[in-house]
């Protein structure tokens, strides 16, 4: 088993058009490093230095990682990670 990462339309240029890719790691940061090895360039669009980019939201099992430890958030096999651009509501 692995961890599924769902990729928004705007980042699929890095995944050969795939809507989801898989990877492994113990933390979100490790997972993104692993995903980067097969999808070069994607990490820099999501992360700037040690932080998520301002207009990107990342959810592990539907919970926003900014409230669970950011890139240090624990991940495990079977989890679903969703990357989405920030959009307005209201």
């Amino acid at each position: 088993m692995a961890i599924e990462v769902k990729v928004p339309t705007i980042l699929r240029t890095y995944t050969g058009g795939e809507k989801a890719v898989s990877g492994s790691g113990d933390t979100l940061g490790e997972l993104l490093d692993d995903v980067e090895t097969r999808n070069e360039g994607i990490r820099a669009r999501v992360v700037d230095g040690d932080e998520l980019r301002r207009f990107v939201n990342v959810y592990v099992n539907d919970e926003d990682v900014r409230f669970t430890g950011g890139l240090g958030t624990d991940v495990k096999d079977g989890d679903t990670v969703v990357i989405l651009p920030a959009v307005a509501g209201g």
Partner: protein
Amino acid sequence: MRFDSLLDSVGQTPLVGLPRLSPSPDVRLWAKLEDRNPTGSVKDRAALAMIVAAEKDGLLRPGCTILEPTSGNTGISLAMAARLKGYRLVCVMPENTSSERRQLLRMWGVEIVGSPAEGGSNEAVRVAKVLAAEHPDWVMLYQYGNPANAGAHEETTGPEILADLPEVTHVVAGLGTTGTLMGVGRFFRVAKPAVRIVAAEPRYGELVYGLRNLDEGFVPELYDESLIDNRFSVGPRDAVRRVRELLDCEGIFAGISTGAILHAALGQAAKAVEAKERADIAFIVCDGGWKYLSTGAYEGTVDDAEDRLEGQLWA
């Protein structure tokens, strides 16, 4: 209860227990029925507060034109207040919003400017900003950045919840403009800091996130993440499932975004049960389901409903 006018009757909504959906006598859910506001949604609080603040600041004078980007409820609330106070209202609205919302706005005499479905409310905000620059005499209240939006909830919604439920442990609300959560959060951080403030954010179909580049993303100016404790993304499937459960189990007919909020509230309830902790979880019922009947969310299988909501701004 008697009021001098409809505008005076905003707020003071009922908080009702959910005995069937609450997992145990120690872990209880409470619904704050914001659909009981004059135009049927929580947005009456923010809309009225923004208008009153603009009048006080001298920005709004009789005969003025108000401009606002909105996916619906804020526009409907502003329309009622504008009609009673004698303002003209122009709303910028994404094209993928329900037809009931458009009909209601037109009924109240609102002029609707459409914005492209792709990009959702981000596009409505962009178009409204262009219009505001073209018409410097128009007053854009701008719910995403107007402190009176959050202020309404700091001064009314939060205190009402605490007065009705002094034992409250969690407040769960939707995250759109972020006004409800910022105001309620700011109130509880002072009045009862142990209360956890939980956000439920709708997750739409891909069309809504179809930005040209990531830098076009949007975070409302009001948003301060230190005022909330957890934030959950809820897709249409869970929202539809929960909004139907709310009706089946407790008789409450709510809009789809309330289903998303209930989903997050039940998640908090399950965590409390697991941790063997007492919890009194208040959540916001944003509006009733009437305006969303045409979306198909309330009939057929959950699969069908989920398909029909694809690409729509359902919250």
